[in-house]
Amino acid sequence: MVRFEKVKLTYDNSGTLALDGVDLKVDEGEFVFLVGPSGSGKTSLMKLITGEVRADSGKVIVNDFDMMRIRRRKLPKMRRTLGVVFQDYRLIENMNVYDNVAFAMRVVGASGRDIRRRVPYVLELVGLEGREKRLPSELSGGEQQRVAIARALVNSPRMIVADEPTGNLDPVRSLELMLLFEKINEMGTTVLVVTHEKELVNAFAKRVVKIEDGHVISDGGEGYFSYE
């Protein structure tokens, strides 16, 4: 879940006011598209959720963690409740599919037994059974993003946030991937997806939050959006 109240964010180095009084409420189990033109502040909003940046003012609550007050030492604990997916997959190139996913469990101290049980299950869920031994370079873009989603899912997060996960994929792969997110959401995980692609958003009857110039300009218009 996410609670944003009057959130302001300025980047010190450029002085850019990236977010200017954002209010946003995402409840447990929701599926939300976050859309908006380039530079509107979508990635900035994501970074506030993941704790990569801190807001100047306002209220930021993510999975019950107060992100305005959270101590750096507590960030790992908070991040374990979150699965993050990026446009560029961010896989470890010299690790095979299985290890890329298992790695995420290993670094949070999961037991070997849990890893051996959980990883194949998640890989099957994202449709990568039989690809375990491949390196990322031996996979298509869509498959690589599925590995990234498997990695995000493997520690059973409460929420998945994805910043333009289909940005590098063709429309068919994009649709397939979005169906996967929908499936994950139906299994109980909250999903927040940033995207540019109008057709994709319109293909689903989901809540759409529009953001422009650091403001939320509309919220709700299910399955429809346009910006001029």
């Binding site: 993941t50 990569e52 030492r73 960030l75 790992p76 604990k77 908070m78 991040r79 374990r80 979150l82 993050v84 961010r90 470890i92 790695f103 995420a104 670094v107 949070v108 101290g109 990695r151 520690n155």
Partner: protein
């Protein structure tokens, strides 16, 4: 994760090599200076052993000319090679030049006795000669091992001081270089570190492979530095012994100090390695 540390060393072969070399070089420079100081120390000890004997003239013989005359008697003693007379005035002056003058204010020269500085042919007979000297009429007391090889003490002090400063600087320099070397190595792994952070790995966990990498490189640098130091030391002392009259110099045997050198080298290596490793990833852990 221990495997991670070793994996990183393998993939960054050149960097690891550079780091180990730098640690080695630092240790060898430090070690050479320290061993030089140790040898000077030893030399001082030797010189002290071989040093002059001082014979003090009986207080009753206050007259300088009278006292001086005893010198001829001393010269007749077996094993005495030379005699030098030092008056009480000279003795006080020598004494005061060595110590704080303000402490000496009001001290009369009569506190000091006339004395003879005596050089011996054969130090091995020092004991017998000392006894014989004490039998000479007019000699009150004989002191051996007394006059220190001041120059060497001063040189030793300078060398120790310089080596301490040098060591401190070198430790920091090598830590810095080590840190940068690992930093370069971590650069290629920053994606991996970012991923680890994103899935909620603790800082300690992320740091561990780098600490291990630093540890292994430090131990390697310390161990190899020790071996190189050993070879170098024996080479230098060996050629010194060849070129100089045998027996004149008796350098410290490396084997005598080897355990200490090894322990110190490993300790410094580990120190540099671990601190370098931790420092290198500090920036990556901030996010």
């Amino acid at each position: 994760m221990i495997r991670e540390g070793f994996r990183s060393i393998k993939t960054h072969g050149l960097m690891s090599f550079a780091t180990v070399t730098i640690i080695m070089a630092c240790l060898i420079i430090m070690g050479s200076v320290a061993l030089l100081a140790l040898n000077i120390d030893r030399l001082i000890d030797d010189l002290e052993d071989q040093n002059e004997v001082v014979a003090f003239v009986d207080d009753g013989l206050a007259d300088e000319e009278e006292a001086k005359a005893i010198g001829n008697e001393i010269l007749k003693v077996n094993n005495v090679s030379s005699v030098e007379f030092v008056s009480r005035a000279q003795a006080m002056e020598n004494y005061m030049s060595k110590y704080d003058k303000s402490l000496m204010e009001g001290i009369d020269e009569t506190v000091f006795r006339h004395r003879f500085i005596i050089k011996l042919h054969n130090i091995e007979m020092l004991k017998e000669t000392k006894l014989a000297l004490e039998e000479v009429p007019g000699v009150a007391k004989v002191r051996a091992h007394q006059e220190y090889a001041n120059t060497f003490v001063r040189i030793r002090n300078i060398v120790s001081g310089v080596s301490l400063v040098l060591m401190a600087i070198l430790v920091f320099v090598s830590m810095f270089i080590m840190s940068n070397t690992i930093k370069l190595a971590t650069f290629s792994r920053r994606e991996e570190i970012a991923i680890m952070k994103m899935v909620g790995a603790s800082n300690g966990f992320i740091r561990l492979p780098f600490v291990i990498e630093g540890l292994v490189l430090g131990i390697l640098g310390g161990g190899l530095g020790f071996l190189a130091q050993w070879g170098l030391y024996n080479l230098v002392t060996g050629s010194l012994m060849d070129s100089l009259a045998e027996g004149f110099l008796s350098p410290v045997q490396f084997m005598d100090v080897a355990p200490m050198v090894l322990v110190i080298y490993l300790a410094i290596g580990v120190l540099i390695g671990v601190f370098g490793g931790v420092n290198a990833i500090r920036n990556y852990l901030k996010v």
